[in-house]
């Protein structure tokens, strides 16, 4: 039985290692400067890159952050201060519910509200869908980081004459800022890889576009489109794109883990 747990540990870490190894092997050969700077080529032709998709993903992350970060941090501040009032508990519960919603449900919601009325796909709709997904993540990490700040700090500021709002923002928030920023980055990493909400909001775009009101390409969308089509060249590009995507996500995850580790040796879980 004990041996089974050892076996389980090996089997559980195996997929990660396999997937990463395969990604590196298949994707690295197709990575080149052209990949980052060129536009997608014609169907089946060699060459071409994912420049528009990379820029598109950055734009979508930007729009999502403009929506998700302020609301998430504000909600986190509220929850950290109101702790267990009925309203706070309800908000916390619904935040977890929102977190668990399938990303495609967010996609059809954004479509219903932002695409259908204007009959136009847009980067804005995609950004809003991603931003809505960011809110519960940012809220939870903000609240956790704020609760770690010792109350003595807040009391000292109040004793010195700071008004309540100033204490919260200039003292407590600033102390927790590193953790909050880390949490925000982790949320960004999570939504950078989301495809389903973008399928019918941002839609994807073969051409270069930086307009908020037009459809826009995104890295995960491009990977999906290339992967399910039949051309080998596109498959190679898909692997390269996946390698880029996962490198970004892993670097952010590793940096976040490193930044929030406890300085005293015991792991912060």
């Amino acid at each position: 039985m004990i041996g089974f747990t050892y076996l389980a540990a090996i089997l559980a870490t195996l997929p990660l290692v396999l997937i990463l190894a395969h990604l590196v092997r298949k994707g690295a050969s197709s990575l080149s400067l052209a990949f980052f700077t060129h536009m997608p080529g014609s169907v089946g032709e060699p060459g071409g890159g994912m420049a528009n998709a990379i820029v598109g993903t950055l734009m979508l992350i930007g729009i999502a952050s403009i929506i998700g970060l302020p609301i998430g941090i504000g909600a986190g501040l509220y929850l950290a201060e109101k702790k267990s009032t009925p309203l706070a508990s309800t908000v916390r519960f619904l935040s977890d519910v929102l977190n668990g919603l399938p990303s495609i449900v967010m996609g059809i919601f954004a479509w219903e509200v932002l695409v259908r009325p204007v009959r136009h796909f847009s980067a804005l709709a995609g950004g809003v869908a991603l931003g809505a997904m960011m809110i519960p993540l940012v809220t939870r990490t903000t609240e956790e980081m704020l609760l770690v700040v010792p109350t003595s700090l807040r009391e000292a500021a109040l004793a010195l004459g700071y008004p309540k709002w100033r204490t919260s923002i200039s003292v407590v928030l600033r102390t927790a800022l590193a953790g909050i920023v880390t949490g925000a980055l982790v949320a960004v990493a999570r939504i950078a890889g989301e495809t389903a909400p973008l399928l019918f909001t941002a839609l994807g775009n073969q051409f270069w576009s930086t307009s908020v009101r037009e459809p826009i390409a995104a890295l995960p969308l491009q990977i999906f489109t290339y992967a399910i089509n039949a051309y080998d060249e596109w498959h190679r590009q898909a692997w390269a794109g996946a390698l880029v995507l996962i490198t970004i996500v892993l670097i952010i995850s590793l940096a976040a883990r490193f930044a929030t580790r406890s300085r005293f040796g015991a792991p912060v879980d």
Partner: protein, 324 residues
């Protein structure tokens, strides 16, 4: 109260300072409350928008969306039963594969792993949750499906003679319910494992020591003292993984074969609710088609809502017990 102008000035200044901070406090509280209330507002908005868009389909087709299997767009029949069946079956297969492994890893990390190994392995397992779904799908198409088609499925069907049962019969195309189940298992594993690890480590030492003092072996201690204590939390973690598996779209769409038919065999291609929406939404032809897809989305919304709410309640109840 003195009558010198300098004192009046002091009093006024003091009053202004208090007033300013009173306004500041009110504005701050209003802003943060507004941000917090945005969350329930968003959930309600999502529910209202989806159900309102789904209403025409529910009104015209009623329960046949859920019960019939005929999804014929041109004829106006929208029976999503194969999709619902596929969602439930793929998630069940995923849980059957993932749960023992995830709990095994959690037990390994909380009981047996040397301290220096705990962080790295825990981190590696949690990292599985960070991999984007589309990357899983890509790996699924080009690595998992050939592996299943050429080695695993023939092994299961012919070598183990499971092909005699209805669950492993039929040709091994590759894209299948089994492939979807395996990929979903890998995606759900970190969620189950992370929650289980936390609740197992939260079991008080006194429980473990009491079992050992009564003469239990290491394994008996885990089985009889630690796991029952953490049981509701572990079940909560399993349901969390289930919730993730139910809503997963991209990886499943890429490996399940997208065939809207109910089949008992795991080797056959299938369909899920999320794949159905993903595949047909951008090309929905009629208003009824769109509304039917929204209806499928509404069903998915409700199912995941319930599963996640129950999961959260279970995990929270362990946390509350811990503090008592």
């Amino acid at each position: 109260m003195t009558s010198l102008p300098v004192d009046w000035l002091e009093n006024d200044r003091r009053k202004l300072r208090v007033d300013a901070s009173a306004y500041g406090d009110k504005i701050y509280e209003a802003l943060t409350a507004a941000c917090a209330l945005a969350i329930p507002a968003l959930v309600i908005a999502i529910a209202v928008a989806i159900f309102a868009a789904a209403w025409p389909a529910f009104a015209k087709l009623g329960f046949s969306i859920v019960t019939t299997s005929d999804w014929d767009v041109r004829a106006g029949h929208f029976g999503a039963a194969p999709a619902i069946f596929g969602t439930l079956v793929s998630s069940t297969v995923a849980l059957i594969i993932a749960t023992p492994l995830a709990i095994g890893v959690a037990i390994f990390l909380s009981e047996f792993a040397p301290l220096w190994l705990r962080q790295p392995i825990g981190f590696l397992v949690d990292l599985l949750a960070a991999i984007p779904s589309v990357v899983y799908g890509l790996w699924g198409i080009f690595v998992l499906i050939p592996l299943l088609r050429e080695h695993v499925m023939p092994f299961l069907r012919d070598t183990l003679h499971l092909g005699a049962t209805p669950f492993f019969s039929g040709p091994a195309y590759g894209p299948s319910m089994l492939a979807a189940g395996v990929i979903l298992a890998i995606m759900a594993l970190p969620y189950i494992s992370s929650v289980s690890r936390e609740v197992l480590m939260a079991v008080p030492r006194s429980q473990r020591e009491a079992a050992l003092a009564l003469g239990a072996t290491r394994w008996e201690m885990i089985r009889d003292a630690v796991i029952p204590y953490a049981r509701s939390g572990i079940i909560g973690g399993i349901m969390l993984g289930l919730g993730r598996a139910l809503g997963e779209t991209m990886a499943v769409t890429m490996v399940i074969g997208n065939r809207p038919e109910i089949s008992a065999s795991l080797l056959a291609p299938g369909y899920t609710m999320a794949s159905l929406i993903a595949n047909e939404f951008s090309e929905a032809t009629s208003d009824l088609h769109l509304s039917a897809l929204m209806a499928v989305g509404a069903v998915l919304f409700i199912i995941t809502l319930i599963v996640n709410a129950v999961a959260r309640w279970l995990v929270w109840s362990v946390g509350r017990r811990r503090t008592q």
